[in-house]
Amino acid sequence: MIRGLAILLVFQSLGEVLSGLLRGAVPGPVVGMVLLFIFLVLRKSIGESISTAADGLLSHLSIFFIPAAVGVMLYAGALAQSSLAWMLAILLSTIGAIATTALVLRMLSRPTAADKT
């Protein structure tokens, strides 16, 4: 678990370094994710400690968004203006994006056995 966490932090750090070299065009954690993915695919095995650490973090992924989301309270005033505009824009574009992605993917996919629910 700690070993796995250490590996994740090493890749997060590598991601931050590379992101800095790219002048922050892509955030460090996303670069770190890509680097770790490439590393794992090349190594051809994932390893138990890193699996345990990752599954532990990902099974409660929601909690990590909470501190940033509480920041909404700072913008209550600004958001009250044109509230109908941004609420409708977000609601309809999100519905549109989910529906479009799912339907296009279904159209282009052959049914696979693993996906029968």
């Binding site: 996303v30 824009a89 977000i90 992605t101 799912a102």
Partner: protein, 248 residues
């Protein structure tokens, strides 16, 4: 100092302890974890009903407590930053479910990329179109444009194209919550049953919070959601600043 003399001893000590506690990181950290535990147990007890979204409930609890106690976001964040920091580590950890699915993903690369491009385009066009229709201020339009991309990237893009990073973060988080709320009924309505299609579409449209929702429903949906989020993050960071030149 004078007022203290008038307080009963118990209250005086309690007030002192409160002043101490609310100034340490312990307060924000504890509040975040307790609010999440309460929100998550409600979510589990409701059989993971989308309306019982744990992020939404926890944020409501925390804002209520902060307002009742007159605590600023800044002093709350002193403690909450430790949880916030791990968001980066959790993002890196998304590589593991992707690596487990590697062979399957490589075979489906083209359908996945095409579907992601289609969804990302609809997201931008509809969001900007509606904001324009309602004559929203330009800064709001530019902050809405990247809202389906994960929050840290959306903030960077907004700053580059004349939006506000903070508004962009608020819109990205709201999009994530909306996506987590509407995905299940919407996909049922469309008759999309395949976990890979359900998860991928939520990841593309509603990034991390949508991915968290997908994970809680099915691990395969979660893995595809993190793929959708990751691909959209990479594509968005590279192309959206350029796209914005034509429409904002």
């Amino acid at each position: 100092m004078k007022n203290r003399q008038n307080l009963p001893v118990g209250l005086d000590t309690l007030a002192e302890i409160w002043v101490y506690l609310s100034a340490t990181p312990l307060f924000g950290l504890t509040l975040t974890l307790v609010a999440y535990v309460v929100a998550d147990s409600l979510y589990q007890r409701s059989q993971k009903h989308p309306l019982a979204n744990p992020v939404l409930i926890a944020v409501a609890i925390i804002i209520t407590v902060l307002m009742l106690t007159g605590t600023s976001y800044e002093s709350y964040f002193k403690g909450a930053q430790f949880v916030h920091f791990l968001l980066g580590t959790a993002t890196v950890a998304l590589a593991i479910p992707l690596a487990r699915l590697w062979k399957e993903l490589a075979e489906r690369a083209i359908p996945l990329l095409v579907a992601m491009l289609a969804g990302a385009t609809v997201s931008v066009v509809v969001a900007v179109g509606i904001a324009r229709l309602f004559d929203a201020p330009e800064i709001m339009v530019a902050s809405l444009l990247p809202k389906s991309v994960t929050a840290p990237i959306a903030m960077g893009i907004a700053a580059q194209i004349g939006g506000s990073p903070t508004l962009a973060a608020v819109f990205a988080v709201t999009t994530g919550i909306v996506g987590a709320l509407v995905a299940t009924p919407l996909l049922n309505l469309l008759g999309v049953r395949d976990w890979s299609q359900r998860g991928f579409s939520v990841g593309v449209a509603a990034h991390g919070i949508g991915t968290a929702r997908a994970y809680s429903v099915d691990p395969r949906a979660g893995a595809y959601a993190s793929l959708g989020m990751g691909l959209h993050a990479l594509l968005g960071a590279i192309t959206l600043p350029w796209v914005a030149r034509f429409i904002v």
